[in-house]
């Protein structure tokens, strides 16, 4: 059981990194990214291919994946410079599809539908199976903490104010002398970098990847995490990622205890259940479990209401 919980915690870690990245892009800056699966897959394959075929060590593979994300994110956000809101959503969705089809069809590089098996893992000799799970969870948890720290720092800094201002109204932001375009490109590429890093960590964890791993379903779970947790609130979405995984995985245990429905109907019920829960959250708590903190004047400064 504890080995299972450790592995699920590791998956929650991947989701947390993705959710933090999405929060940076969408929750704070208002840029819709439906291409999460694309970046996730790109990171996984970048690190996988470089470690397997070029002989990169684990860390160099993960770093290259991050760099790839940075470049791809910048490229994509510059491409869609005049595209905002809905249009960016479509562009990112298209990007994810391009990545998937590339992975599927460029056999010479990715081995196509046969997938890639990755033996490279850090320090895999030093631990047995159970210990290794804990060790890898440590790596993922450390990454979550670093990403959290960076995203939270960005949110609190004056930089964060600009991000929120762009989210609320970019024309006003530009009027105040901020170059919204540059901010957008920066934020989007940093978010994409984190997504690719998550992908790389995932690849070395599961050790066998194929284009089927990176379907839009992943993006939906991450959106769920951010929406359920509370868009704009980094603490909230950490909880959100945990809650989503709890629902996804917890419902799997129903079958072990419930005998009046057969396994076939249960798998359908389980997916309906997840959908209903999301609808309920949005209906009764649209701001998420932990809403975005609203900024108040620091204590000790008198505020006067202007009528």
């Amino acid at each position: 059981m504890s080995a299972y919980l450790i592995s699920i915690a590791t998956f929650v870690g991947f989701y947390m990194i993705l959710a933090l990245a999405l929060n940076l892009q969408w929750g704070l800056t208002g840029m819709v990214n439906f291409g999460i699966a694309g970046f996730f897959g790109m990171g996984a394959y970048t690190s996988g291919l470089l470690t397997v075929y070029v002989g990169f060590p684990f860390l160099a593979g993960v770093a290259s994946a991050g760099l790839m994300g940075l470049v791809a994110g910048a490229f994509l956000s510059m491409l869609s410079v005049r595209l905002r809101g809905d249009y960016l959503a479509i562009v990112t969705l298209g990007f994810a599809e391009i990545v998937r089809l590339f992975l599927l069809n460029e056999d010479w590089l990715t081995r196509g539908p046969r997938g890639l098996s990755i033996d490279v893992r850090p320090m895999s000799e030093s631990f047995d199976r159970n210990e290794y799970g804990i060790f890898y969870l440590g790596i993922v948890a450390l990454t979550v903490l670093i990403v959290y720290f960076i995203v939270e720092k960005m949110r609190r800094a004056p930089y964060g104010r600009v991000m929120r201002a762009i989210r609320e109204d970019d024309v006003v932001t530009e009027t105040l002398g901020k170059n919204a375009f540059f901010y957008r490109v920066q934020v989007f590429s940093i978010g994409s970098m984190f997504m690719c890093i998550a992908g790389a960590l995932y690849a070395h964890y599961v050790q066998s990847i194929s284009p089927d791993h990176f379907v839009p379903m992943v993006a939906i779970f991450i959106w769920m995490s951010v929406i359920v947790g509370g868009a704009g609130n980094n603490n909230g979405l950490l909880i959100g990622a945990g809650v989503v995984m709890l629902i996804l995985e917890g419902s799997r245990f129903l079958g072990d205890f419930v005998s009046f429905v057969d396994a076939e109907s249960l798998s359908a019920i389980r997916i309906i259940f997840i959908g209903v829960l999301l609808i309920l959250v949005i209906r009764f708590r649209p701001q998420g479990l932990l809403p975005e903190p609203k900024f108040q004047a620091p204590v000790g400064i008198k505020t006067t209401r202007v009528n």
Binding site: R129, D256, L266
Partner: protein, 406 residues
């Protein structure tokens, strides 16, 4: 800015997580039962097939338990949905291995799922039984724990090519769905027909599934007027591809695999489906095992090949339980060795698992004969599938054209 306790909150949360994971009691459910995991594609791409596999696993386990189990122990079956998605399946497999402590995970369908959970199963010494045709499967099984109940793709390609040749077709164009199973049939098909003196008029290409229309692909396929086309695919995309082919007025022969032309396909296409030729590895003629399967699932014998994967599901759970009974233990490494022993041809033929258990207890050697095929494995645990059959759809029914034996 009023949030002051962020770091502390995080530290507390981390501590709490570590604490709960480290000290939560190990929920091991009694040592008594033998735990088996079933991971089937009940939704997603394998959705049309998964439920039949699920039902087959369950019916055999119920049957064995009702007769007192194996090795004097009850068989506990844990059934989970892989959603035909490796990302999800890995977590489901984790649950089966680490929580339910299963000795085997059976019923995986998509190659990407089978390969996706393989690192985990190998590490934890868990037997895998699948119906996935990727040629990578034997290569990656380092411990001799993986058993494939479906012939590898090259075998399908060769058999259908042989049948096409012997029926006089000499001129082909080929396109295939771009997935592991269907795309790796193409090479062996091409090799076989060219060796037999036939001609391939196009450069075989792969199309991506899940499209709304396949007009461009179909136009490219038939631009050189091939006398016959070979389109290995799945039922969802083949339905759309075939409609396009029909609309384009193509008059040559269409060859495909039988899993693309099940009853759903015939219902969707109607009379236009007549004339399609399709092939599948089959059980030996007049197979008692297949009739036994139909009876167990309450199905009528329609003469059409039904439940190609459900039958394999029955064969998986049956061989697994027989191997454990024969090995005298549920230890995966031991049981795996006995899988060859109970299925390969050196004993009395059985298809009912209870009959097999009875013979094993009487100290006799058995040869499990399946509903999906003969069930004989090569050294790598891949099914040999000696019998292959070609059908033609006539008046909405499958009519046997030819069978081959190797």
């Amino acid at each position: 800015m009023t949030i002051k306790h962020t770091r502390r909150t995080i530290l507390k949360a981390t501590a709490a997580t570590v604490f709960t994971t480290a000290f939560i009691p190990n929920l091991v459910w009694a040592n008594g039962p033998i735990n088996i995991g079933s991971l089937t594609p009940n939704t997603g791409g394998g959705g049309p097939f998964g439920p039949t596999i699920t039902a087959a696993h369950k019916s055999i386990v119920d049957r064995v338990n009702a007769a007192g189990g194996i090795l004097g122990r009850r068989v506990e079956l844990f059934q989970n949905n892989s959603e035909t998605n490796p990302e999800t399946a890995i977590r489901a497999a984790r649950k089966l291995v680490d929580v339910n402590k299963v000795k085997a995970i059976i019923g995986t369908f998509s190659s990407s799922v089978t390969l996706g959970i393989m690192p985990l199963c190998q590490e934890a010494n868990v037997i895998q039984m699948c119906t996935s045709s990727s040629a990578d499967i034997p290569a990656k099984d380092k411990k001799g724990l993986v058993f494939n109940f479906q012939a590898l793709s090259p075998r399908w390609g060769k058999a259908i090519a042989d049948l096409a040749l012997s029926n006089g077709y000499k001129n082909f164009a080929i396109m295939a769905l771009n997935n592991d199973f269907t795309s790796s049939m193409v090479n062996s098909f091409v090799e076989t027909v060219t060796a037999g003196g036939a001609e391939i008029v196009n450069k075989p290409f792969y199309y991506n599934g899940g499209q709304a229309s396949y007009r461009a692909e179909v136009a490219k396929l038939i631009e050189d007027d091939p006398k016959a086309v070979f389109i290995p695919s799945y039922v969802t995309d083949f339905t759309a591809v075939y409609k396009e082919l029909y609309r384009a007025g193509y008059e040559g022969k269409v060859f495909t695999v039988s899993i693309a032309t099940g009853s759903k396909f015939k219902k969707a296409i109607g009379d236009a489906a007549n004339g399609i030729l399709h092939g599948l590895p089959v059980p030996p003629l007049e197979s008692e095992a297949y009739k036994f399967y139909l009876k167990l699932q309450g199905l009528e014998d329609t003469g059409n090949m039904q439940h190609p994967f459900g039958t394999a599901g029955m064969d998986q759970i049956s061989t697994l339980l027989l191997a454990m009974e024969s090995a005298g233990t549920d230890d995966a490494n031991e049981a795996a060795k006995h899988i060859w022993k109970v299925s390969n041809p050196n004993g009395e033929r059985v298809w009912d698992v209870l009959e097999g258990i009875k013979l094993l207890r009487a100290g006799k050697a058995i040869n499990y004969t399946g509903a999906s095929s003969e069930i004989d494995f090569d050294d790598e645990g891949m099914i040999k599938a000696r019998h292959f059959q070609l059908w033609e759809i006539r008046d909405g029914q499958d009519v046997t054209i030819e069978r081959i034996q190797s």
